[in-house]
């Protein structure tokens, strides 16, 4: 079984490169008023469009969606709560920074979301953010200490969490104490309706030594990005470090994709976006960024947050995904999200994971 997650848009959606031209979800410029405009009140709000993306993910059969931490986009807990309420099967990973608040509060909000969703909430803890974001938050914790704080954060959040049901006891805790550099709890611990729920699956990210060390201790899942130096070394270190503690951590690979019926159609799409991003034509040929095995390192030039992703026919992309033998699943994304989710769900996922996505005994034709 291969796990597929889809990263949700957090600041609008559309088919263009320039974010200002993508008006779905209430970001970007206002849609022009024309004779075709319906002026009656009660039109879509920003979250109605996001809800359609979430619905598309659920219908497409992806296993989970990720609500990203994005200082310039919708707030991820609000997105995640809405997503959980709108779905029955999809897992929803909320990404947030440890400095968003206290670990007790994160655990408290999560208990509610676990209750209302039947345990489908997951966490993607973002330990590092860009310097401007850290400054804006007035975050005094820098460098390696960010990982020490994240370690405390996850320790406290798990500490107050009781997987087994504990009888209600008014305002009383269950005897959990913690006195750390960042957090203090006295007689904490969840009871009653807040107990007996599964702790959110913890995803962590990053290739640095500190990131890998944190993941070995606390992570259930580690999400790698494809880089020039590869992820394999970090992945092996993670496996070794986790094993020393008697643990194992699942590995996901994050990839933007453009997959079409034919390789040429996929490239035609890339070229249209590339021309839009470089209208003066001075940036050269998009094909120059092609790497081996359907990989392309220009996605960051088209507005994605990472350079390397996959381009090709469904068969090309499926073959490449299947070739990552040490990987347990993927975090895919593509724009516009509704259309790309349906493409992935209908044409791609079953090629990569026939055992998990076809009825037993049924032959796969593709």
């Amino acid at each position: 079984m291969t796990d597929f997650y889809w990263e949700l848009p957090s600041r609008g959606d559309g088919r263009r490169v320039a974010s200002g031209l993508n008006t779905r979800g209430g970001f970007g410029a206002d849609r022009p008023v024309t004779v075709a405009t319906d002026p009656r009140p009660g039109k879509l709000g920003p979250f109605d469009e996001l809800a359609q993306v979430i619905h598309a993910a659920e219908l497409s059969g992806v296993d989970g969606v990720i609500a990203p931490y994005d200082p310039s986009g919708e707030e991820s807990w609000v997105v995640a709560a809405a997503a959980l309420r709108q779905t029955r099967h999809a897992r929803v990973a909320v990404e947030f920074h440890p400095a968003f608040g206290t670990p007790v509060y994160a655990a408290k909000m999560s208990a509610t979301l676990q209750r209302l969703s039947g345990g489908r909430l997951e966490w993607r803890l973002k330990v590092g953010t860009d310097p401007a974001d850290a400054r804006a938050r007035g975050d005094r914790v820098t460098g390696r200490n960010r990982y020490a704080r994240a370690d405390e954060f996850l320790t406290v959040a798990r500490g107050v969490w009781n997987d087994s049901e504990v009888l209600p006891g008014g305002f009383g805790g269950t005897g959990y104490d913690f006195a750390g550099n960042h957090y203090d709890v006295i007689d904490g611990g969840f009871r009653g309706i807040l107990s007996g729920l599964p702790f959110p699956v913890v995803h962590l990210t990053g290739n640095s030594d500190e990131a890998v060390r944190l993941s070995a201790k606390h992570g259930d899942v580690h999400q790698f990005m494809l880089t020039d130096t590869g992820y394999e070394t970090s992945a092996r270190t993670l496996a070794d470090r986790a094993l020393e503690q008697g643990r194992s951590v699942r590995k996901l690979l994050r990839l933007p994709i453009i997959a079409r019926e034919t390789t040429d159609e996929a490239w035609a799409r890339v070229e249209r976006l590339w021309r839009e991003a470089h209208p003066d034509g001075v940036s050269g040929d998009s094909r120059a960024l092609a790497r081996e095995n359907s990989q392309w390192s220009g996605f960051d030039r088209l507005g994605y947050d990472q350079p390397i992703g996959l381009i090709g026919s469904y068969e090309d992309v499926a073959r490449e995904l299947s070739s990552f033998r040490d990987i347990d699943g993927f975090v895919l994304t593509g724009r516009p999200h509704i259309e790309e989710l349906h493409r992935a769900g209908e044409h791609l996922l079953h090629l990569v994971d026939p055992a998990g996505r076809t009825l037993a005994g049924q032959e796969v034709h593709a």
């Binding site: 600041r11 609008g12 209430g26 970001f27 709000g45 920003p46 979250f47 109605d48 809800a51 200082p71 310039s72 986009g73 919708e74 707030e75 807990w77 609000v78 997105v79 995640a80 709560a81 809405a82 309420r85 709108q86 968003f100 608040g101 206290t102 670990p103 007790v104 509060y105 408290k108 909000m109 999560s110 208990a111 509610t112 979301l113 209750r115 209302l116 039947g118 401007a132 400054r135 804006a136 938050r137 007035g138 005094r140 406290v156 209600p168 006891g169 305002f171 009383g172 913690f178 957090y183 203090d184 709890v185 006295i186 007689d187 904490g188 611990g189 009871r191 009653g192 309706i193 807040l194």
Partner: protein, 384 residues
């Protein structure tokens, strides 16, 4: 001028009747058993509905019964109101979500982002109920060891930062509890209406902080003379700052077609009285809880001893959790008492009753229409 009426959501579970022991059989707060609603048992198995579905039902009932919205309170042992409001945002159309929270537990920039996203999700229907914490063991449970008066300093700083980043222009702040450099809501989220602030707290520190930040100073119900004096104090303090807060009161209501029927309801609840409840509530450093304890007589011979003035009864905390004071009487009497509070300067009400779902309809349909209102314009007369 219109008066805002909210109806509380019972996040602690819903007590189906005051006539029964404190068993919260709406939702799973009191465990699963016969007669439980959401989740219920079908064919020996849980049916997949959860308490969130009951909360959705209360929100929709309040909306259709004529309330502007509802308070989602926050306690250590209950669901979280931010998560609940976000989950229910898409299921109502005009219902306002009054989210109760303590400023210490979230970074103000995070709270600003969550709020702006919720405003976008609801079309501007988020309202704040800012509480600064009751102290004692529950505060330490949350991981908060900040002292009483400092908690109000923190609340003030928190709201300064939240307002500071709201318009999307870079905001610097260097306080005792929070620091920001160039913090701002992003362009996509900025420009939403700032949520109205309901501010709670009875101490001097609270009144001082409320003077700066409250749109509505929110109090539990108290005897009317005490409430008037309390409001005068807030008014006086705010005036020095050039501000004029409005006032709101949180009131439990038992209204029936006759006065006798309403008191009969209380009498049945009195069979399950817990006389130690007021003492326990006053264990933290909450000034409001200590005030309440002062009104509960030492020796109680019966429930009518607690009627401190006509229809104003301070025994609610002895027969179910929560604040002590509420109104008990016929529909007309309760409407009259609410009108008297309006005359005393109350601009908004947060009403509640058990069970929250059915009582929302009862109070919305029977009591609210009796309130003295500005006469509605007659169609055709005022319009050209």
């Amino acid at each position: 001028m219109s008066i805002d009426f909210y109806w509380r959501i019972g996040m602690e579970g819903d007590h189906a009747s005051l006539r029964t022991p404190r068993r919260y059989n709406r939702g799973d707060a009191g465990g699963y058993g016969p007669g439980n609603i959401a989740p219920a048992i079908r064919n020996g198995e849980l049916d997949g509905y959860g308490y969130i579905d009951h909360m959705a039902a209360v929100a929709k009932a309040s909306e259709s019964a004529g309330f502007l919205g509802g308070l989602l309170p926050s306690f250590p042992m209950t669901d979280d109101p931010w998560a609940t409001a976000a989950a229910l945002a898409a299921e109502t159309t005009t219902y306002r979500f009054m989210v109760a929270f303590q400023p210490g537990f979230l970074h103000p920039l995070q709270a600003a982002r969550m709020s702006a996203s919720l405003q976008r999700a609801t079309g501007g229907r988020l309202v704040y109920n800012i509480i600064s914490g009751g102290g004692g063991a529950p505060q330490l449970w949350w991981g908060d060891k900040v002292d009483h008066d400092d908690r109000y300093t923190r609340t003030s700083e928190f709201l300064d930062v939240l307002r500071g980043v709201w318009d999307g222009r870079p905001f610097d702040f260097d306080g005792r509890f929070f620091r920001t450099e160039g913090a701002a809501l992003p362009p996509g989220l900025a420009g939403q209406p700032f949520p109205e602030v309901y501010f709670s707290g009875s101490s001097g520190a609270a009144v001082a902080a409320a003077g700066r930040h409250a749109d509505y100073y929110l109090s539990w119900l108290e005897p009317y003379a005490d409430l008037r004096a309390k409001f005068d104090g807030v008014r006086e303090h705010s005036a020095k700052l050039g501000r004029t807060p409005k006032f709101a009161v949180r009131i439990d209501v038992v209204a029936r077609h006759t006065e006798e029927a309403a008191w009969a309801e209380i009498e049945k609840g009195w069979a399950f009285v817990d006389k130690g409840a007021a003492d326990r509530a006053a264990q933290g450093d909450s000034v409001g809880a200590a005030r309440i304890k002062g009104w509960v007589p030492e020796h109680i011979t019966g429930y009518r001893d607690l009627e401190v003035q006509p229809n104003v009864w301070c025994g609610f905390s002895l027969i179910r959790g929560g604040p002590a004071f509420g109104l008990v009487g016929s529909y007309e009497q309760v409407a009259e008492r609410l009108d008297e509070l309006r005359e005393l300067g109350v601009d908004a009400f947060i009403l509640a009753g058990n069970p929250h779902l059915e009582e929302a309809y009862r109070v919305g349909e029977e009591v609210l229409p009796l309130l003295q209102r500005q006469p509605l314009p007659i169609f055709g007369q005022d319009t050209p």
